[in-house]
């Protein structure tokens, strides 16, 4: 990790955006928010053709498919100085799990480590690698922040989003009780053990509502879709947004799971 290291302020740094499958499919605006934040930080952003990091296969015990997907990621992202993902989970997969996956394969493990070392979660990349201390954005309202598990525990992402959110004009942060407790998403877990997942996200929804914040923010779309889906099923009046959108000044988009044009 870049803590304690010099910032990499080289101009025109080439960043490959790992957009993540969920952002690609469900919420492209998060991808465009990431592009804007990276460009504002002086990076040249490119998005090579991609699918997924392979977690659904990896966490289902299918190493062979995971390895095929990982090799595809190696090839696609070889040209870049850094790889950045608007997700702690996918960045964690590449940073922490790709090297594990290829342990014992001398050729590929080196490639996996090279990729791992240059891969970051978006917000921590901005603060820890690029030295970004503030953003140019406005958001009127009180938000609360959920720490998604992989970002928090695999990559140490905790203070970075709070630091940058604190520089958004008009935005107040109230701390979420049990912010570091899982929301119950867990990828395929949410479907394979739906009832358990529901019980866990139910508690999360209680804490979110109790925070009094109008908007819930986190850095991983999987968790956000889970929490948004639970909150809306309950009829809660909470907006759910990705941190990149707020930081990029795109907080006026319809929130996750809300109608495109809200009825007035």
């Amino acid at each position: 990790m870049a803590e304690g290291k010099e910032f990499d302020r080289r101009p025109g740094l080439r960043v490959g955006l790992f957009v993540t499958c969920l952002v690609d499919l469900f919420r492209p605006s998060v991808g465009f928010a990431a592009v804007k934040l990276l460009q504002d930080a002086g990076c040249t952003v490119d998005v090579p053709l991609q699918t997924c990091c392979g977690q659904p296969a990896y966490n289902s015990g299918d190493r062979a498919t995971t390895a095929r997907i990982a090799e595809q990621v190696f090839r696609a992202f070889r040209p870049y100085d850094y790889v950045v993902a608007p997700s702690g989970s996918c960045a964690g997969m590449i940073r922490r799990h790709y090297p594990e996956l290829f342990e014992g394969d001398p050729n590929l493990v080196a490639e996996a480590r090279t990729l791992a070392d240059k891969t970051y979660e978006l917000v921590s990349f901005l603060t820890d690698v690029r030295g970004v201390t503030k953003v140019d954005a406005t958001f009127d309202g009180t938000i609360t922040y959920h720490d998604s598990c992989s970002g928090l525990r695999e990559l140490g992402v905790r203070s970075q989003p709070r630091k940058l959110l604190g520089t958004v004009r008009g935005l107040d942060v109230v701390e979420l009780k049990n912010a570091d407790v899982c929301c119950g998403f867990g990828g395929t877990f949410a479907v394979k053990y739906g009832e358990l997942s529901d019980a866990i996200v139910g508690r999360k929804a209680d804490d979110v509502v109790a925070s009094g914040a109008r908007t819930l923010v986190a850095g991983d779309l999987g968790c956000l879709m889970n929490m948004a889906g639970k909150l809306s099923r309950r009829g809660a009046n909470t907006d759910v947004r990705h941190v990149a959108e707020i930081l990029a000044g795109m907080g006026d988009l319809p929130p996750i799971g809300a109608p495109e044009e809200p009825p007035r």
Partner: protein
């Protein structure tokens, strides 16, 4: 002889647990108190993280040289006048204990808390031999009079409310006045103490577990908070220690290091109230102690884990921190896991001991949130080991057919980026057309596992990749 697992019915077990109001009330304590206490204890000790490294290293070292330390332990134990009984499996272990009891003509047996005795079904074996085993740890005693098994490895009755325990005491302690006041937890405690006192004095054999066995001295150690362990092992004329092989550590110094992380991780105490070391039977100059000191050392599947990736699991010192911090355990308690060891440590250990064909749900019923690993005092990579079990299941075609075929279809597209972009581009546009007026789906074909419990947010429409490609074709990156 081992307890019959209900792990294959994990989903039904979990469903019942989530609908059990008493259990849900009782679990509130785990969700808050254990976590705060551990966090405070860890924060109060600057070297806590370094101690975790050292604890991990001590256990890893011991496991790498387990044969050596077992030999040394046996030597020192014999020199101190103790007797070692090695048991390959549950049946041998139970037989060894029963034989010891019979050899001294025992009628009643007191027991300190021991998870290995639960694992091998020792109480059943003792009862089958016509003897009466009496649990003396308060939680174990409660669980025993209810005919249950522990639901937590350090807090056996954590799944129960005070009201339930009061009802059990009134049901069982019929020799006491019916009108007595049992409205406070402390009253229940002192009633149990009174009932157990007579049992301690009458017992012919006392059985305890061991938190550690020390190779350099032949010593066994138990840590308790109630003092019941001491009475169990000192008062009867025979003390039987039952322990699994991974309890060994090389030296007293190593044990002292491990004790510094054990109680802090478990209950948030700096030390447990009692730390009791036993080395052999009573010597002539000792004021008290047993005439015979036996150690039943149980393998029961552990040695098969050595040299595999699951060797790391044998570092476990049974503190319970992983389950105390597990969001799944919080919802369902320990019994739903269907065998002796619940929570994340059980999700890794149980398949090793009873087979992944029976315990296959356990390593799957995890979100991989990683909180267990983040608090494990010996840094066992629990999510990684659960994933290893999922890999074994996948290799052996034990995963459900729907999961396998879904994965195969997804894998087909995920390894063909151009096809993937085209197909998902169409699919997301279609989904958007249907879902955009509401912004979400209350039900969706093939996604019932999701939409039964929560809405599915609708996609924004065109995928990121197809928008990006379109913009690039127009010659602008923005």
């Amino acid at each position: 002889m081992t307890v019959h697992p209900t792990s294959p019915q994990f989903k039904d077990n979990a469903h019942r647990a989530m609908g059990d109001p008493a259990l849900q009330k009782a679990m509130g304590h785990v969700r808050q108190a254990f976590i705060e206490k551990r966090a405070n204890a860890a924060a109060a000790l600057p070297e806590f993280e370094a101690l975790r490294d050292s604890a991990r290293d001590i256990k890893a070292h011991t496991l790498r040289h387990l044969d050596l330390y077992l030999e040394r332990y046996e030597e020192r134990l014999s020199a101190a006048g103790g007797r070692l009984h090695f048991a390959r499996d549950a049946a041998e272990a139970c037989r060894a204990v029963v034989d010891i009891c019979r050899s001294v003509g025992a009628k009643t047996v007191t027991k300190g808390k021991s998870m290995i005795s639960e694992e091998i079904g020792l109480n059943h074996a003792i009862e089958a031999a016509g003897l009466q085993p009496i649990e003396t740890d308060l939680g174990e005693y409660i669980v025993q009079i209810r005919g249950e098994t522990p639901s937590h490895i350090i807090a056996p009755a954590v799944h129960l409310t005070r009201d339930q325990v009061e009802a059990d005491f009134r049901r069982v302690h019929t020799h006491l006045p019916a009108g007595r006041d049992l409205s406070e937890a402390v009253m229940l405690q002192s009633e149990a103490r009174g009932v157990l006192r007579d049992r301690f004095l009458a017992a012919d054999v006392g059985i305890t577990g061991a938190n550690f066995l020390i190779a350099e001295t032949g010593t066994s150690i138990i840590v308790t908070n109630e003092g019941n362990g001491d009475l169990t092992q000192i008062l009867p004329k025979v003390h039987v220690v039952i322990a699994s092989i991974e309890k060994l550590v090389p030296t007293l110094e190593d044990m002292a290091q491990l004790l510094r992380v054990l109680a802090r991780s478990a209950t948030g105490q700096e030390m447990s109230v009692y730390t009791t070391l036993s080395t052999g039977p009573r010597r002539p100059e000792d004021p008290d102690g047993p005439e015979q000191y036996h150690v039943v050392l149980v393998d029961n599947g552990r040695s098969a884990m050595l040299g595999t990736s699951f060797e790391e699991m044998l570092r476990c010192i049974r503190c319970g921190a992983c389950m105390n911090h597990c969001p799944v355990y919080h919802e369902i308690g320990g019994h739903a896991y269907g065998w002796i060891y619940p929570g994340p440590m059980g999700a890794v250990l149980t398949p090793s001991l009873i087979g992944v064909d029976k315990a296959g749900h356990l390593p799957n019923a995890s979100t991989f949130c990683g909180r267990c690993e983040s608090v494990c005092p010996v840094r066992i990579p629990l999510p990684k080991l659960m994933r290893h079990w999922r890999e074994r299941e996948f290799e052996r075609h034990l995963s459900p057919a729907a999961v396998r075929s879904g994965l195969k279809l997804w894998g087909f597209f995920a390894t063909r980026p151009r096809l993937y972009r085209a197909a998902t581009g169409l699919a997301m546009r279609a989904l958007n057309l249907v879902g955009r007026s509401k912004g979400r789906f209350a039900s969706l074909p093939l996604a019932g596992g999701w939409t039964r419990y929560r809405d599915m947010p609708a996609p924004q429409g065109e995928t990121f990749q197809s928008r990006w490609a379109r913009q690039k074709r127009r010659g602008g990156a923005r």
